[in-house]
């Protein structure tokens, strides 16, 4: 690698205070640890993203390829000022969210990808990244768009987002904004989690990001049933 050229190609990086991990109690009673992923975690996370890129249902394919590109770009220093939060249950990766800073006042929400479905994993993780943008990074606004109708319902409707002029950087889709005011209006209803994470749970989460098999990921996303032969 020509380090001199590489230095030109790498985008500059903004300092960001870390996201303090938290634990969310799910409807199953299960505990999901939400924590910040590092660049070194990306290859493992990509293992879970890869099987999604051929799933048409709910636009997982488009979200999957975009998340793959974003994480890879971040890992190889071609994506500017991105952060990624992950959700883990018993160490297993159940979802990821990522956002990119546009300025010290504005974040651009990129994607929410849930591997485990039916437990509001995506909704909890999306809320966590908004929490990071507003409460820890001090942003005034986050620009958001959605590829799927589920995303539209979860973000645009549930958070009463404001439609903005212009284009979101995700393919020029319509941008909606979550303002600081809207975030705090909906926080009690939508943002869950407790801190600090008990040591035992944190230790399991940090020890290893476990990823279920590709087939399991596809089945979980497609809602495949436990088919018991009678």
């Amino acid at each position: 690698m020509d380090l001199e050229v590489e230095a030109y190609l790498r985008p500059p990086e903004m300092d960001m205070p870390p996201y303090p991990p938290k634990v969310i109690t799910l409807a199953t009673g299960g505990k999901m640890v939400v924590r910040q992923a590092t660049r070194e975690d990306v290859p493992t996370i990509l293992q879970a993203v890869k099987p999604t890129i051929e799933i048409e249902r709910d636009f997982y394919d488009i979200v999957g390829v975009r998340v793959y590109a974003e994480l890879l770009g971040w890992y190889r220093h071609r994506m500017r000022d991105m952060f990624c939060l992950i959700g883990q249950i018993d160490g297993y990766l159940v979802g990821q969210v990522n956002t990119r800073a546009y300025s010290e006042k504005l974040d651009i929400s990129l994607h929410t990808l849930a591997i485990e479905r039916g437990l509001r994993i995506g909704a909890h993780l999306f809320a966590a990244k908004m929490e990071y943008s507003f409460e820890y990074l001090g942003r005034e606004e986050v620009l958001i768009t959605a590829e799927s109708p589920i995303g539209f319902r979860r973000w645009m409707i549930e958070y009463e987002l404001e439609l903005r002029e212009g284009q979101h950087e995700l393919g020029g889709a319509a941008p909606y904004a979550l303002t600081r005011e809207l975030y705090y209006k909906h926080k009690d209803r939508l943002v869950a989690g407790e801190r600090p994470v008990p040591d035992k749970l944190m230790e399991v989460a940090e020890r290893e990001i476990k990823v279920v098999s590709e087939q399991d990921i596809v089945e979980k996303i497609l809602g495949a049933k436990r088919r018991i032969k009678r």
Binding site: I24, T25, L26, A27, T28, G29, G30, R57, G118, L119, R120, H124, P149, R153, R189, L190, V191, A192, G193, E194, G223, K225, R226, R227, I228, K229, R230
Partner: protein, 394 residues
């Protein structure tokens, strides 16, 4: 009137069926029931299809005519029966009458709905079209809203608590885990949906005091039964399951016109008729499938149908009487809460689940030694209700 038997029973999984059309769902259910029985030389004389709103959900009408063609049952008579969420029950009733009268020897009854072609709020609006257009709908009343008000009154009158409602949800979702046809196969806990300080985020309010996990999912799915005369039933190899009695009763369209909105008069009357025609009493029933579109309904219907005294239904849930292995297992299939509620399919699916129970074919959800079963299909908000008593003939 001749005795009527269920010769074949079948279902396709209730879930979000993006890849299948309504026609695929109805045909799949019909074939599942027809595959369950060897009719020999006997032919299906008529097809009754329970479907609530194909015109609104799928922009498709005359679906029964399309179904007989798809199933190669032409020239069988065919029609769609619409009675709101009790469309399936009404279709079964019409099938029973057709065989009982002696006019047909073999009838196929299919119930099905594809609701997920539209987004959730639209589905809620379509279902709300069954409310009174001038006295209810124009004020924004939906079925969850009606159920919420009903629940509040029931809680005040009978001391039902949110814990009782959550117990019903937890029980039925637990039953759904081992039902291969259930839409929801996920265990939930009291901590996760009620006790934890942040459980309101997992289970947000839908219509106070009902929360998300108090409500059934919006599902696609279909179920079917083949009804035959006794003469034919005797020639078949499967255990004989008779539709021993049915009842149907109506109540006022608007809830506000009811003397006591907590009294589900049509449920009571339909159940009394069904038991009377079957010559059985509530205490004779071994397993029941009730219409738990909302958790409160399982409790209220269990009382109004005569299984428990008024105000005792919640206590029965608390004691575990309604669990599989309890004194009267209710909704061992998972009920509408977990199996799902594709509205037109539900009344037929309840019969299918009871047939499997009485034949001993319900797998891990089997109620041991079940001989007599009861189902209740609740139309509107209790303004058109059907009850069935099924009996296994030794």
């Amino acid at each position: 009137m001749r005795p009527v038997f269920v010769a074949g029973a079948g279902m396709i999984p209730f879930e979000r069926q993006d890849e299948n059309t309504l026609g695929d769902i109805l045909a799949g259910a019909g074939l599942a029931a027809l595959d369950d029985v060897d009719l020999g030389k006997h032919e299906v004389g008529a097809v009754y299809l329970g479907n609530m709103a194909s015109g609104l959900f799928n922009h498709q009408v005359s679906v029964a005519s399309a179904l007989v063609d798809r199933l190669a049952l032409i020239p069988a008579a065919a029609e769609r029966i619409e009675n709101g969420p009790a469309s399936g029950g009404s279709a079964v009733k019409n099938g029973v009458l057709a065989v009982a009268s002696g006019y047909y020897d073999v009838v196929l009854v299919v119930g099905g709905e594809k609701m997920r072609d539209v987004i959730g709020p639209k589905a809620t609006d379509i279902v709300a079209a069954m409310t009174h257009p001038h006295a209810e709908y124009i004020y924004g009343l939906t079925l969850p809203a009606m159920a919420g008000m009903f629940t509040r009154l029931y809680m005040e009158k009978y001391g039902v608590t949110r814990e009782h409602l959550a117990m019903v949800a937890i029980k039925n979702q637990e039953n759904g885990i081992t039902n291969p046809y259930a839409h929801i196969q996920m265990k939930i806990t009291m901590e996760g949906i009620l006790e934890h300080p942040q459980s309101h985020i997992n289970s947000p309010i839908i219509a106070d005091p009902l929360h998300l996990y108090d409500c059934c999912p919006v599902s696609d799915g279909g179920a079917a039964v083949v009804l035959v005369s006794e003469e034919i039933a005797k020639t078949l190899k499967k255990p004989m399951v008779q539709i021993a009695g049915f009842g149907q009763a109506t109540d006022t369209h608007t809830l506000a016109e009811r003397e006591d909105p907590t009294e589900l008069k049509a449920v009571r009357l339909a159940a009394v008729q069904a038991f009377s025609r079957a010559g059985l009493k509530p205490k004779d029933i071994d397993v029941a499938e009730l219409h738990d579109a909302f958790t409160i309904l399982e409790i209220a219907e269990s009382e109004q149908a005569g299984f428990f005294k008024m105000g005792e239904g919640a206590k029965a849930v608390e004691r575990g009487d309604t669990r599989i292995g309890g004194k009267l297992p209710i909704n061992p299939s998972g009920g509408l809460k977990a199996r799902g509620h594709p509205v037109g399919a539900t009344g037929v699916a309840q019969i299918v689940d009871l047939v499997w129970q009485l034949r001993g074919e319900a797998g891990e959800n089997q109620v041991e030694g079940a001989k007599n079963g009861f189902s209740l299909n609740f139309g509107g908000f209790g303004n058109n209700v059907l009850a069935f008593v099924l009996r296994r003939i030794s």
